[in-house]
Amino acid sequence: MKIDRRFFIRKVMAVGVLLAVPRILFAARPDKAFAATDGDQAMASLFGETPAASDRVVLKIPEIAENGAVVPVTISTDLENVESISVVVANNPTPLAASFALGPRSVANVSVRIKMGESSQVLAIVKADGKLYSASKDVKVTIGGCGG
C-alpha cells in the first residue's frame, strides 16, 4: 500500500498544531506559593510583602458556609490597572487557593468556588499598579470540605 504524500503531510501538521498550542499558552504558575503551608508564607512568596487592608477591595463570601467543600467567593475592586487577584484561606493546609492574573482589558471582578477545611479567615489580595490591597472576612464552616 502506498501512503498518499499529501495526506501524510496534513496528518503530521494537524498533530503538530495540537501539540504546539498549549505549550505557548500557559505562563509560570507560582508553585512555591501554592505549596506554602502558612498564609503569611504564601503571601511572602507571592508578593514579597504583606498587603495592607483597603476598603476598595470587595470580598463577597458567606459568613456561615454550611458546606466547606463549596464556598462561593467573588472579589471585585474599583482600583485601576489591576494585575492580579488572589484568595488565601488562612487555616487551610495549603492556604493559597487561587491566584488570577488580569490584563489591561480585564474587569476586576472574579468569582470562583473554594474548599475550606474549617472555620477560617479568608483574605482577598489585589495587586494594582504594583501596590497590594486586601480585604478579609471570617467564615464559619459547619461541615469541613477537605474530604475527611
Binding site: P22, L25, F26, A27, R29, P30, F34, A69, V70, V71, V89, N92, P93, T94, L96, A97, A98, S99, F100, A101, L102, G103, R105, S106, V107, N109, V110, S111, V112, R113, I114, K115, M116, G145, C146, G147, G148
Partner: protein
C-alpha cells in the same frame, strides 16, 4: 483529554462576561480511600487560560482548594457580539481540555 468545559459568553453592554464550569474531580491529596486506607493522590486543575483575538485576557492559577467541578467567572472589555473566546485548562497530571464559545 479532560472532560469538556461548559461555557457561557455574554455581552453586557461594553463588558464581556464569561462563565465556565469545568467537570474535574479536584482531588486535594489529603483524603484516604475508605476501602484501602491508601492516600488518594492529588489531581487538580493548576492553570486556566482564556484568549480573545489572540490576546490572553484571563489566567487562573489554582491549588487543590478550588472546589470539585470548578466554576469561574470573569469579565473583560474590547469584545463584541459574535467574537470568539477560547478557554483551556491543564491539571497536575498533564491532562487538559479546551473549548471555544461565541459571545451573544
Amino acid at each position: 483529554m479532560g472532560k469538556p468545559i461548559k461555557i457561557r459568553a455574554k455581552m453586557k453592554g461594553d463588558i464581556a462576561e464569561v462563565k465556565a464550569l469545568m467537570p474535574h474531580e479536584m482531588e486535594a491529596g489529603f483524603r484516604r480511600d475508605p476501602a484501602t486506607n491508601e492516600r488518594v493522590p492529588a489531581h487538580y486543575i493548576t492553570d486556566v487560560v482564556a484568549q480573545h483575538n489572540g490576546d490572553v485576557v484571563f489566567t487562573a492559577y489554582w491549588g487543590p482548594a478550588v472546589s470539585k467541578n470548578p466554576f469561574v467567572s470573569f469579565s473583560f472589555l474590547g469584545a463584541a457580539v459574535g467574537d470568539t473566546i477560547n478557554v483551556h485548562w491543564r491539571d497536575n497530571k498533564g491532562d487538559s481540555s479546551a473549548i471555544e464559545a461565541v459571545f451573544k
